[in-house]
Amino acid sequence: MTDPVEAQQIMLATMAGALVVMFGAIYAALFAWSRLRKRPAWMPAAYLAYLCLAVATIVLARSLHLSGFWSTVVFVMLFGYLLAPHAIWHLCVGTHESAHKTADTDSRNPLNGGQTNE
């Protein structure tokens, strides 16, 4: 795992590392924006960003000489990053819905004196 990157590839490896995080965020942002505004047309752009993320990850993995077990880890993490915005989106919707339901219940409950911040 720890063979250093070739001198000629330092720039390539660092830029690929930066692009992994950048495209990860762009994918997440476009995904969330498409769902929020109910614009499915944006979704292909989100997956295009994910594709760029995948390419950047592979370039990074190759320049870092990752192989064997570490290649598997890279693909598992790549798959994880594909699913992460979906999971986080469900969490967003879930937490907001649950908060609204609690607020509705609280407003109808005459016993709720608002003694706690929860």
Binding site: A29, I88, E118
Partner: protein
Amino acid sequence: MMAQAVNQPMSQTAMRGKLNSAELNAGQRLAVKYFSVAIILFGAQILFGLLAGLQYLMPEFLYNVLDFNVNRMVHINAMIVWMLYGFIGSVYWLVEDESGTELVGAKLANLAFWVLTAAVTVVVIVYLLVQTGPGEQKSLWLINEGREYIEAPRWADFGIVAVVLVFFYNVAATFMKGRWSGISGVLVLDLIALAGLYLAGMFYSPNISMDQYWWWWVIHMWVEATWEVLVGCIMAWGLIKTLGARRKIVTTWLYIEVALMFGSGILGLGHHYFWIGTPEYWLSIGGFFSALEPIPLVAMVVHAVYDSGVHRFKNSNHPALAWLIAHAFGNFFGAGVWGFMHTLPQINLYTHGTQWSASHGHLAFFGAYATINIAMFYIAIQKWRGDVFMGAGIRHAWRWKWALALLNIGVVGMTVALLVSGYEQSFVERALQGSTWAGYFEAQRGEWFVQGMFWRQIFGYVTAAGTLLLVWDLITIGKGETRPAEKPTEHQAQAQAA
């Protein structure tokens, strides 16, 4: 009673636009003191940063008068301490509001503030005046402990721990007397870690690997764990106050973020153990968990987009919200992009300890911590001026907007310039010359290195201009303003969502 109730709004109106400490609670009055010292130290950080930057370009400048090592030390220590002052002030600012009761031990808290401030003053004077001579036990206790970033002598270490324990007592006892919330629970637990971890930086060992091993507990665990969580708590409270975000949502997300940050950040510590003589397995642990560290940031992106759609950024304090947004972006780019760029061991072999690290440090500290402290300063000044209007159309809005722009342009410019210099160091000194002494000097004579340092200095001046404008704005914003602030409520947020 009736007369009081009627008169109170009139007196509030009369005092609006003027600094009115009577309107602040005990915690907030103390917070104002912490914020004031924080701003002074922020100025010191910039001043000594400019001097140190200038010494890269003119090595003879102030040689033997105010040497580079002293300027750099004061620059970094001032940054750490002003951020701590900002965090402590922020917690004192919110503690009575969040707990619904008066601050417990206010006198002790005030005493701790003056003790800490006196100690910081003495330490800085010693930094500036007494930094040459033999290194012995006495110098560890009285002059300089020698550990980078936390050079304060040992007597000051004990003082810092004592003050943080007083701070912990004030905050925990206040919540115990009043009411608990998700934010306060996370905050109190985090303060235990904040005080406890500092002890790891006080061990003494003649073995440099062991010494560095524990030293990183303070540096990494503070910055990438306890500070992040502390900032998460302040941000959560700030979002409730500025956007009227729902408490339950904010709290739930605080738990999620804390779990993600601790899950990846604690063992992410391994990326500091690559080259200090620790066992080889740290290369794998550090590399793997560092690769997980961007996950909380991706989670924040999805949640920020979701919340911006729900709340539409209607708020009562435009400068504070602008700095909270700067915090979200700064944290993402500084900690996420700039961190991950060089955190894996195959790359870090070439980049650690070069200007590449300084590039990451400048953007990450500014983006993740300076921004949120500045947001809190604006929240505080709004209340101190009698809860004045600080929304769209506020007078002299150009000041806070230009301060925001200059500070961000300045720091981003320094970051990019340092990256150019750092790349040359990594390539010439590390990759080509194999980290030799000759390579170290050859890299620093290189044209790209020197140009990077030149532009860093230029953008340093831009940052300094932004800081001056920020201070001017903080002193004057809301002065003479008579319109009251429109407070966002959860009900409004619900209406916006609908």
